[in-house]
């Protein structure tokens, strides 16, 4: 697989990642990423199809705790770092469209 990645690709990825990159940043990443991708693409030849994937160093199944009420943050503590809050809630910009 070719690891070619264009400036347009970077712009698309940035929009997926919710980062409004500047024109300069798009230029720079567009220039840097191909070299990095060429290097990491070596993984494609390193392992044969029958090798299982490993997502985690420790084989663990779901870990549950007992379903009992335990102390948590107070509303004031939870909101202490909020950019804006109102009536014990996070105040955020408009999420849905007008219509």
């Amino acid at each position: 697989m070719s690891s070619a990645i264009s400036r347009e690709d970077v712009a698309h990825l940035a929009s997926l990642a919710r980062i409004s990159l500047s024109e300069d940043e798009l230029d720079r990443l567009g220039a840097e990423l191909p070299a990095i991708l060429d290097h990491v693409a070596a993984v494609q030849e390193a392992a044969s199809a029958d090798v299982p994937a490993m997502s985690h160093p420790v084989p663990i199944d779901n870990v549950f705790r007992d379903d009992v009420v335990r102390p948590g943050l107070t509303p004031d503590e939870a909101l202490a770092g909020a950019p804006a809050s109102e009536e014990q809630r996070f105040l955020v910009p408009q999420i849905l469209g007008e219509d």
Binding site: M1, V10, R18, I36, L37, V43, A80, G81
Partner: protein
């Protein structure tokens, strides 16, 4: 009594125990040292004299009242600013968390407080622990006490500089691909990445969750073991925390006997690409182990050569997911773009552009690419397979030997700015440390002297099977006695005996 800042943690603990020093004296001496030298080292992002002295006074009062205290009670410690501390800002070295004060402590911080260690402050790091030089801190670079024109390593560069520069006897670091061991090697101190799951990650800002581990940094193997014992053990608040007994690391650090121990030299981690002065010190260290009665053999781990490639796919993928939480809604920087009222999504994108630095953006974009439809199998999927191969190499090696050794890093500390324009060159510095993170095994780096070609510290890495962290400390303690590694005389003054 010599200057308290020159004492090792175990020596301070002993002096506190016999009453020849108080914790307030020791803590104040370190705070004075920070005030004197940190403008040259840049090791701290925040210093907390009041909090540290209050803990010290409390410990002194309890000791005076005859209370039996934990071994390290009253010994000051510095905490990497990736780790949540109530009452002190936690920035992750990023503008996006500038001034943020966490509403809860990390479990490791809870354990430090319970054990009575005064917390001096929060140490500098590459932003969100992404980097090998500390130059990616959004605030300032930390500097190497041996030569302040050089990097202290990263990402736990501030913790390394603080311990090496006598600002703190102990520090916490985090290690995702070498971020404790590599700065340990660069600054001539001991740094340990415990077994994955051996130390709780609760309250530690996540970079790559399947790789991150918290660990100790110190000026001796025993000091690191004493701190390791405070930190380690099962935490129900971290679902990846291992419910297993903590290896007896302190006993091992007091033992230091390699007679009959089988030591494997990793063939792939040395030779070409390694600085001659580093290789020379490493070879001498291996010879010392053999003379001390260890059985030394060469071991091949062929998949390690693909470790960097796999790591620089797995890690950014997890980064792109983990850092999605910095969305300008609940905490952290919020930037509202000019113009008509902005949507939440527009605020998010503007805040993340303003709040994240270049390396963080680079990794988020790389990870987003590796996980995107059409590329997932070729990149992320293949990297996960390589991870299996690396784990298999370790398993096969540990059937032949008890521990593996290699140079911790290919080079000694480089000059600030030397690799800044070439991210790939910086990534390649992690070649020897990454395999342990991919497989989840523990690793220790300790200083073995100065490179003859650069006059800067060289680190040797010891690797052991998962949950055999005690072997690291046993070998480390033995090497510490066998190797005559010089200590730093003072900042920029080079080495003195």
């Amino acid at each position: 009594m010599s200057d308290p800042v020159r004492l090792k943690a175990a020596e301070i603990a002993e002096a506190l125990g016999d009453g020849s020093l108080t914790s307030v004296d020791v803590t104040q001496a370190h705070l004075d040292r920070i005030a004197d030298v940190d403008d040259r080292l840049g090791a701290f992002l925040h210093v907390d004299p009041e909090g540290a002295l209050a803990t010290a006074a409390d410990v002194d009062a309890r000791r005076a009242a005859g209370e039996t205290l934990p071994t390290l009670a009253g010994v000051p410690v510095a905490v990497k600013d990736l780790i949540n501390t109530v009452g002190q800002p936690t920035t992750a070295g990023s503008r996006i968390l500038e001034g943020w004060v966490p509403p809860y402590d990390a479990t490791v911080v809870t354990r430090l407080r319970a054990a009575g260690l005064p917390i001096l402050g929060k140490t500098n790091l590459d932003e969100f622990a992404m980097g090998s030089s500390n130059e990616h801190s959004a605030y300032k670079p930390a500097r190497n006490p041996w030569d302040t024109e050089r990097i202290p390593g990263g990402s736990s560069g501030g913790s390394a500089a603080a311990v090496a520069g006598y600002e703190a006897p102990l520090a916490l670091g985090t290690d995702t691909g070498g971020s404790i061991r590599q700065p340990g090697a660069m600054t001539g101190i001991v740094g340990v990445k415990p077994t994955y799951g051996g130390v709780s990650r609760y309250g530690v800002i996540a970079m790559a969750s399947s790789l991150d581990q918290v660990g100790p940094m110190a000026r001796s193997v025993l000091d690191a073991a004493l701190l390791h014992e405070v930190l380690a053990g099962h935490d129900p608040r971290d679902s990846t925390s291992l419910d297993a007994p903590v290896p007896s690391v302190v006993d091992a650090a007091r033992r230091g006997d390699v007679t009959g121990l089988r030591v494997g030299v990793v063939k792939e981690l040395g030779g070409e690409g390694f600085q001659p002065g580093v290789q020379q010190r490493f070879d001498e260290t291996v010879e010392l182990l053999a003379q001390a009665g260890a059985e030394v053999v060469e071991v091949s781990c062929p998949s390690f050569e693909h470790g960097i490639a796999a790591y620089y796919l797995v890690m950014p993928s997890e980064v792109s997911s983990n850092l999605a939480r910095f969305d300008a809604m609940r905490y952290g920087l919020r930037v509202t773009p000019d113009g008509p009222p902005a949507s939440a999504e527009q605020v998010m994108a503007a805040s993340r552009d303003a709040g994240f630095g270049d390396e963080v953006k680079r990794r988020i974009i790389l990870g987003t690419y590796a996980l995107s439809s059409g590329y997932y199998d070729a990149y992320y999927g293949s990297a996960q397979k390589v991870r299996t191969l690396v784990a298999r190499d370790f398993a096969a090696a540990f059937e032949q030997v008890d521990v593996l050794v290699s140079p911790t890093t290919p080079t000694t500390a480089w000059r600030l700015g030397e690799k800044s324009d070439d991210p790939l060159a910086m990534y390649l510095e992690d070649v020897a440390t990454i395999p342990a993170n991919l497989a989840g095994v523990p690793g220790l780096s300790l200083p073995v002297g100065l490179a003859s070609d650069t006059g800067l510290p060289v680190g040797v890495q010891v690797l052991a099977p998962a949950l055999a962290d005690d072997r690291l400390y046993n070998v480390g303690a033995a090497l510490e006695r066998l190797v005559d590694a010089p200590v730093l005389a003072d900042i920029d003054a080079g080495a003195a005996r």
